[in-house]
Assembly symmetry: C2
Homo-oligomer: 249 residues x 2
């Protein structure tokens, strides 16, 4: 199979936050999850579970805890992607005849990576089938509540949600950092070495926001990163993860 | 664009570990990285850097530290994907006029997720263009050495490598867990509830390994997970990450 158009599909990616009422065929949804499962998995751990949230009451609660994102409530599908070492723990410990340890930071990292690779396959497969998607990192506003809502046991971490549906909008693509600042050759080059390129990018992002907001929002990328570093820290995260059995060492 | 064949491409994914001598056109490589950049990024942080390793001496050292994986040395391209908060720290702190804090666990998680989403776009774009890939988690055998080899500053974590090239093999696809054990409805269902399904899967994996190894390897998935939980823990990971400035809190 040779599909160079896919590179164009990937470049055209935008998050979709407004959807039509059209439902997603359950056969297609299963195909998307199967595509997700086909992604690479670190040493075959397959440390991913997906919770499909259909219940309207649950959806409302997710929309609220994610910061009042209405599309979480109304999208055709809302999936919660979990880094899942519980399954491995259950199965591996049974073989060993004793409780094995899954509290190493390395194991947490591999499970989170597995989850993101899986989800990105779902997203691409969805977009290739005419759907639009929006990752919902906002579920990490209150991971403890998500854990309760979905009855997540130890060693399961809800990394992000995903809204899926047929797009009812076509937003502009959000500009990305210049390629040269991201692709390094043989050694890392600091942002200090790329000051001029990133300054230029900052101006480009400011224009983008001004245009999209009809002049109401003026913010460079660096300004946005600055504001965010001071606000979106979710300071409870390490304690939450330890409560879930991750990263004790 | 409507490309349902892409779902089939994703399902056909296998890691490729033997490549032809054919080089990758630099224009194509840039396209792949651009596709990676187009992936979703948590709150626009774009916390990813890629180091393209061309230098033969460096390649040899990577092949060795990854556990003697020869294809790391010989693949047309070898890329190291880094979760990079250093750039954000540099830029955001300059705007703020003071050193901002990027040591929260939440920030680490979002940077790792960004890196995996980016990399998976590169992989899919590569495969759609006839290339084969293999993620190299083995660079985490010695992240401190990787950090030195690539001169990675604080707040840059080499998450995995990626070998890229034109395939010179066509291995069998590795069987995945049954869909029903991975896709949950409205609440998490424990592996205990799926004991029969996973037992059946275990038998399937044992057959797969026996067939591939001409009877030399007999191992279920659960047995493999058990062995791995006892060996592949990379116990230094938390300390290394803290040394790099991540996850102090």
């Amino acid at each position: 199979m040779h599909l160079p158009q896919i590179t164009e599909l990937l470049r055209q990616h935008r998050s979709i936050r407004r959807f039509t009422d059209q439902a997603i065929d359950p056969v297609l949804l299963n195909d998307l999850i199967t595509a997700g499962q086909s992604a690479s998995t670190s040493s075959y751990i397959q440390a991913v579970s997906v919770v499909q949230v259909n219940d309207a009451g649950l959806r409302n609660q997710f929309a609220e805890l994610a910061g009042g994102q209405k599309y979480v409530q109304t999208a055709a599908e809302f999936l919660v992607f979990c880094a899942d070492l519980n399954r491995n723990s259950q199965r591996a410990s049974r073989v060993a005849g004793e409780a094995l340890d899954f509290a190493w930071t390395e194991q947490f990292v591999t499970a989170v990576v597995d989850t993101a690779l899986f989800a990105q396959n779902v997203v691409i497969s969805a977009e290739a089938n005419g759907l639009g998607c929006c990752y919902i990192g906002g579920i990490r506003n209150n991971p403890q509540r998500v854990t309760e809502l979905l009855a997540l046991p130890d060693l399961v971490f809800p990394v992000f949600g995903l809204c899926l549906g047929y797009p009812d909008q076509s937003p502009e693509r959000k500009p990305r950092l210049p390629l040269t600042t991201v692709l390094h050759k043989d050694r890392y080059q600091s942002a200090l070495e790329f000051a001029a390129e990133i300054d230029g990018y900052d101006a480009h992002v400011r224009d983008y926001y001004e245009r999209r907001s009809q002049g109401k929002l003026t913010m460079t990328w660096s300004e946005q990163m600055s504001k965010q570093a001071q606000t979106q820290t979710r300071e409870f995260m390490q304690e939450y993860l330890k409560t879930q059995g991750f990263m004790h060492k």
